[in-house]
Amino acid sequence: MAASQFTLSKEDWSLHRKGYQDQERHREKVKQAIKENLADLISDEGIIMSDGRQIVRIPIRSLEEYRFRYNFNKSKQAGTGKGDSQVGDVIASDGPPQPGQGQGAGNLPGVDYVEAEVALEDIEAELFSELTLPNLKPKSPDDVVARDIDFRDVRKTGLASNIDKKRTLLESLRRSQRESARQDGLNWRIRPDDLRYKTWEDVEEPDSQAVVLAMMDTSGSMGLFEKYCARTFFFWMTRFLRTKYETVQIRYIAHHTEAREVSEEHFFTRGESGGTICSSAYEYALTLIEKEYPPQRYNIYPIHFSDGDNLTSDNERCVRLVEKLCEQSQMFGYAEVNQYGRGSTLMNAFGKINHPYFRTVVIREKAGIYQALKAFFSVRDDTSRPA
């Protein structure tokens, strides 16, 4: 009797992909949430200070499954001791215990108290997909290198190992259908004529001989917030350039009343004091270009961060030098960190410059860092350089 009460079977479940499909949808939503929160995320102190910790915890709202539920932290919970538990025994410290574990299926979902964890890589992937070096040009013919091969063509001849099976079968089906319409009966066979081969082409990319001149005002008037913005910007810029373009060089120039070149570490960690003469940095950049980076061989991107509090008598000179820099570079970026929206003499002076490669950005709040990145590292409809 028992034998008729059950069946035991083992089937092929390999086509059951539902879990993976919905997992993919969840991943899509995480990416979307990262994208929407990018401006806040990249200015998050936790990331800049993370010291290579590759995972950051961020609240991603749309992904939590909200419902009316009890406050876990404010209520009592029941537990099982090893015997002789007394009032006052400490069970766990810090992080909450994870309910919902243990064997057994059941349909009671585990209480999900985990903040969303996002790998730095994911944030970068999202951010960097929006950024690019503007006006990049191949500067000398020998810089063009083949990077990769790309299968993008189908031909009737080719290497046997590159047979495109799907297309070959389709072709053969098509032909035999055509023929069967003429004669009676389907005679399906793969003829040599049906064979299709994938073929590749070399992908040639201009080897970006590019150099970024990162200039930062380190004078006394640069407060905590100003420095924070500038450093965050350069942090992402460096990571972006290192990830996307291998041969891009970055030179760091710090200035107050005079400019000098510093190491990357020094640039990001030290602050200085003193007054501000921006032209000193521009001058230094020009000499650097003259000595080491001839514009006919290099794509040059000078980027300058300041609070705009420049010595008034210097502004005239700044404008002149910046115009000169624009002539020699692919893009000149000036970012002014101006939290309180005060009038800035330098920005006023720069207002006169009308050069297609000249870009300015004012950062008023942390989220502005993202705007600055997008403004500088994007392809605009720049007209070609004036002759």
Binding site: T7, K10, W13, G19, D22, H26, A78, G106, L108
Partner: protein
């Protein structure tokens, strides 16, 4: 599992069933399926192989699968409350583990078939959920994935607020009938000799006022009419989902349908929330008894002991339903098999009634009454159960008194551990706004979640939504007007 093992398992199942029949277990016909781990974990995340698609299931699946891949936790089996019962066995289990699992799920199936809470669940839910999933997919094609997902997001956020009590429908119908009668009498007091003629309208479903006669029974007609009339909303109502389906003015028909299918599926799962401890304890009790009757080799006996020990492993931070359930069942058996002097005299309890009593309890109780009636002082002290709470940065034991522990456990199982939300008014401010009231019984709501969930209610109701609850012993009203959440003390 290879073919030889499958054959062996098949023989074992026959044997297991013979033993189970001998014990008097009464289960549905069984369909055992051996599946790879990712399929089992998919079912674990969805609750049912055929359920509709939603990213939250994908999230759960990912988490479960990750824990399995890292060896942190393991689902041995999954059994479905249906006739026949489907049981999914993990391909990676050893033969002995799968034998144990087969015995274990017989316990579950017996429980599904005989426990009162499951009496009204539909036993063809596998097919119904497949049909539901198909409808959701069709809506996605017709209205776009984005729109369907939005409705699902909102619906899933509120799906736990249903009324699964077995008499809910009867009570609701009765109240609706009385409500209609009251309104009717107030509107047209019966004074003349021909007033009984008005009742003709009532038979036709109260549609006389609309000028079109509707046939199809008293209740159906009354429902349909009430849906159109804000004044005839049945409040207070515990079934928020039903209320939204019936009375929301902004939902399109397909949106209502999605809410209905979510509600239907929740009602199906509900008894499982309400009997978690009993059900798992019952199945554990029986796999133990059945495996003891089998001829196991020495090595198998050790493996089985190890597996069973893992299943009933107590946890410092949560209650393991397998362990607690098993302990209570065994205690019942002991106390009714071998009653004390006092029990014999006061309750007239005859010795040797253990199994009979157990079968009676498995039929008539759910977790709340099970804990209330059979979790004794001795058990709580034996198991060393306690309550703990977060104090500062640490989680500390705050209560070991057996009555307090038992009462807390009971309270935490009320309504399946889900806060009770009443619809208090569907026409608040005379503006069609929705007024919800949390049935506060000492445990506060997670306020962040309240603020994030109210917009979902708004999405489905279409007008201002309010939730009254208690925070720090003061009544608080959360309101969402479509733009932001405000809270004010009452």
């Amino acid at each position: 599992m290879n073919d030889a093992e499958l054959k062996e398992l098949e023989r074992s199942i026959e044997w297991i069933m013979e033993i189970a029949d001998g014990f008097g277990l009464d289960y549905f016909p069984m369909r055992y399926e051996v599946c790879p781990s990712d399929v089992i974990y998919t079912f674990g995340a969805y609750g049912m192989p055929t359920r509709f698609s939603h990213w939250s299931f994908g999230k759960a699946f990912h988490r479960l699968k990750l824990e399995y891949d890292f060896g942190l936790s393991r689902i041995y089996e999954l059994v479905i409350n249906s006739n026949p019962s489907y049981a999914f066995l993990l391909d990676g289990n050893t033969l002995l583990q799968n034998k144990t699992v087969c015995a274990h799920v017989l316990g579950h199936s017996d429980f599904f078939k005989n426990n009162i809470a499951f009496a009204q669940t539909s036993r063809d839910m596998v097919e119904r959920m497949a049909a539901n999933a198909e409808r959701v997919r069709r809506y996605e094609l017709e209205y776009g994935r984005q729109r369907v997902e939005q409705v699902l997001d909102a619906g899933i956020a509120l799906q736990q607020h249903v009324d699964a009590s077995w008499h809910a429908d009867t009570v609701r119908r009765e109240r609706m009938r009385r409500l209609c009668e009251d309104k009717w009498q107030r509107a047209r007091p019966r004074t003349g000799p021909y007033d009984d003629l008005w009742q003709i309208g009532e038979e036709n479903g109260w549609n006389g006022t609309d000028g079109q006669a509707k046939h199809g029974g008293d209740e159906a007609g009354a429902d349909a009419y009430a849906r159109r009339s804000a004044q005839r909303m049945l409040v207070p109502e515990r079934d928020l989902m039903l209320f939204l389906i019936d009375y929301s003015r902004v939902l399109e028909e397909w949106e209502r349908d999605i809410l209905s299918l979510l509600r239907e599926e929740m009602l199906y799962f509900w008894p499982q929330l309400e009997t978690k401890i009993m059900n798992e304890g019952w199945a554990t009790y029986w796999h133990l008894r059945i495996m003891r009757e089998m001829d196991l080799t020495d090595a198998e006996a050790v493996d089985f002991a190890q597996m069973h020990a893992g299943v009933v492993l107590p946890s410092r931070t949560t209650i393991n339903p397998y362990q607690l359930g098993l302990a209570i069942w065994e205690d019942i058996e002991k106390r009714w098999n071998d009653p004390t002097e006092e029990e014999r005299e006061r309750f007239g309890r005859e010795p040797g009634q253990g199994r009979d009593k157990m079968f009676e309890v498995r039929e008539t109780e759910t977790d709340v009454s099970f804990l209330r009636n059979y979790l004794t002082k001795e058990l709580i002290e034996d198991l060393d159960l306690y309550l703990y709470q977060k104090i500062g940065n640490e989680w500390k034991v705050v209560e070991t008194d057996w009555e307090k522990v038992r009462d807390h456990l009971c309270a935490s199982r009320v309504n399946g551990g889900i806060p009770v939300i009443w619809v208090a008014d569907g026409d608040y401010h005379n503006n069609g706004e929705l007024y919800l009231k949390h049935g506060y019984e000492g445990v506060e709501l997670d306020l962040k979640h309240v603020e994030k969930t109210l917009p979902y209610v708004h999405r489905l109701w279409g007008r201002g939504c309010h939730l009254e609850t208690v925070v720090d012993d003061r009544a608080v009203l959360f309101s969402y007007d479509g733009r932001r959440v405000q809270r004010k003390f009452l």
